[in-house]
Structure formats: structure tokens, C-alpha cells
């Protein structure tokens, strides 16, 4: 509908609750005919890291939206339990898992990029990433590619 509109989303966090907003927004953009690109940097690389994509967690520790006392939230197993509960609820609502979201985005024509500097920091190679990542680019490349886009930082 709006051929010139473009969304560029920077995903800098790798927890489950920080992964979905960017993925859902990019998908909504494509559904509405708006171009979308995602730039995964720092912990956001976990979202496109083959070894981690199906193991993203949600942390109840230091999370004011989860009404669990910090002393209890820090106990072993609490994070896994919070994650299990959230994944179960998302399954009930038929929300696709992160790996499937990445495939949907790829098929929908969204462009996925990984940050070169973060890759170096975490000693990752392109082959460590899911195949939907189009290219590993520098921050300056991102600035070029996102020209004219509305930028969202997550």
C-alpha cells in the first residue's frame, strides 16, 4: 500500500521476551506491504544463532513484571520454569516458535542481517547462524541499508 515505507529493527537482546517484539513487528510490516529489515547485534545474535535459537530464555530475576521475590527468582530452576510457562502459553495461542518466525519472515521477504563486530566478539562464523540471515554487515553498512527507514531499537 505504501511502497516507500520501510522499517529497520535493531535486535540487541537475546531473551525470549525481547526477541518476539522485533520479529512480530517485522512480520506485521511485511503483512501490511511495508519493507522490513532486522539487524541482530550483541545478545540479539542469540535469536539467529543455530545453537541458541530454540533455547531462548525469559528471566524472572530483575524483572519487575514478574511478581516473584528476587531471592526466590534467583534460585536454580526458576528461569527454566518461567521459560517453560511462557512457551506453554505461547503454544496455546499458536504463536510460532522463534525458529519458525525467522522462516516466516524470510519467506515474507524481510531481510535479516547480523552484526560483524558482535560476531567477532562472540567468536561466531556465518555458518553458526540460521540460514535466513542474508549477510553479516558492519554498523556502517546498517546505516547505509536503513536509509529512509523508520528505526526501532529493541
Amino acid at each position: 500500500m505504501t511502497p516507500d515505507r520501510k522499517l529497520a529493527i535493531i535486535c540487541s537482546k537475546g531473551s525470549l521476551d525481547m526477541a518476539y517484539p522485533g520479529l512480530i513487528l517485522a512480520n506485521a510490516a511485511r503483512m501490511a506491504g511495508v519493507d522490513a529489515m532486522l539487524f541482530f547485534t550483541f545478545w540479539g545474535l542469540d535469536i539467529v544463532n543455530k545453537a541458541k535459537v530454540e533455547r531462548l530464555h525469559i528471566s524472572p530475576l530483575g524483572n519487575p513484571s514478574m511478581p516473584i521475590p528476587a531471592m526466590i527468582a534467583g534460585l536454580p530452576g526458576m528461569e527454566a520454569m518461567a521459560t517453560r510457562m511462557m512457551v506453554k502459553e505461547m503454544d496455546r495461542l499458536e504463536i510460532p516458535h522463534v525458529a519458525e518466525m525467522l522462516d516466516i519472515l524470510d519467506q515474507a521477504g524481510a531481510e535479516l542481517y547480523a552484526c560483524q563486530m558482535a560476531m567477532d566478539m562472540f567468536k561466531l562464523e556465518k555458518s553458526d547462524l540460521v540460514p535466513q540471515v542474508k549477510e553479516v554487515i558492519s554498523a556502517m553498512d546498517f546505516i547505509d541499508k536503513s536509509e529512509g527507514a523508520q528505526v526501532i531499537f529493541i
Binding site: 506485521a28 501490511a32 510460532p96 516466516i104
Partner: protein, 105 residues
């Protein structure tokens, strides 16, 4: 809400152009809209998607988003975007005469 004349029929539409009375829809309206929206010509695959969207809306009272369409209409997500490049989320509903989908997927 307003009404407009298209393909020789008067239809009620909302501010974004989605038809508000599904019963006013005819295939001729879809063809005329496909010309307006730059989707024409409509292929068999387009019709399969539009028919599914109409049937599914009638059954569930909610218009389907792309993920539901892919699951039910026999097209892949990639094909759906090739059929409606300017955004299947809105365009399928526009052409099928059903409301704008509330689904985010």
C-alpha cells in the same frame, strides 16, 4: 463508513476501503478491486486464497491472517507474498470482502 460503486454494484466500505457487508461481495467486485490495487490478473491461486478467506471468515467470524491462510489455502508463505506483493495481510481481506484481520501473524 461510506459507500461506493464498483463493478456495477454499490458496496459499503470502511475508512480503509475494507467492505463492511460481506454479503454484497461478488467475484466481479474482486476483479475490479484487483485492477485498482495493481494485483490483476487474478489467477487460480488468487481465487483459492480469496475463497478460503471468505469461507474461513464465515466459519470463525474473524478474517484470517497470512499464517492461517497458508495453513488452509494450499499455498506457501512465499507464494502468498508473490500473489499479493504489496501486503497479503491487508490485500487478501480487501479483495475477499472481509474485515481487516486482527491477527498479527
Amino acid at each position: 463508513m461510506s459507500s461506493r460503486t464498483i463493478a456495477g454494484a454499490v458496496i459499503d466500505v470502511d475508512a480503509e476501503g475494507f467492505m463492511t457487508q460481506s454479503t454484497q461481495w461478488t467475484p466481479e467486485i474482486a476483479i475490479a478491486l484487483s485492477n485498482e490495487l495493481g494485483i490483476a490478473p487474478l489467477t487460480d491461486a488468487h481465487w483459492r486464497v480469496l475463497t478460503f478467506a471468505r469461507d474461513d471468515t464465515a466459519k470463525h467470524g474473524q478474517s484470517p491472517g497470512p499464517r492461517r491462510i497458508v495453513a488452509g489455502a494450499g499455498v506457501t508463505m512465499k507464494e502468498l507474498y508473490a500473489l499479493f506483493p504489496k501486503g497479503p495481510g491487508k490485500l487478501v481481506a480487501r479483495l475477499a470482502g472481509v474485515p481487516k484481520p486482527k491477527s498479527c501473524l
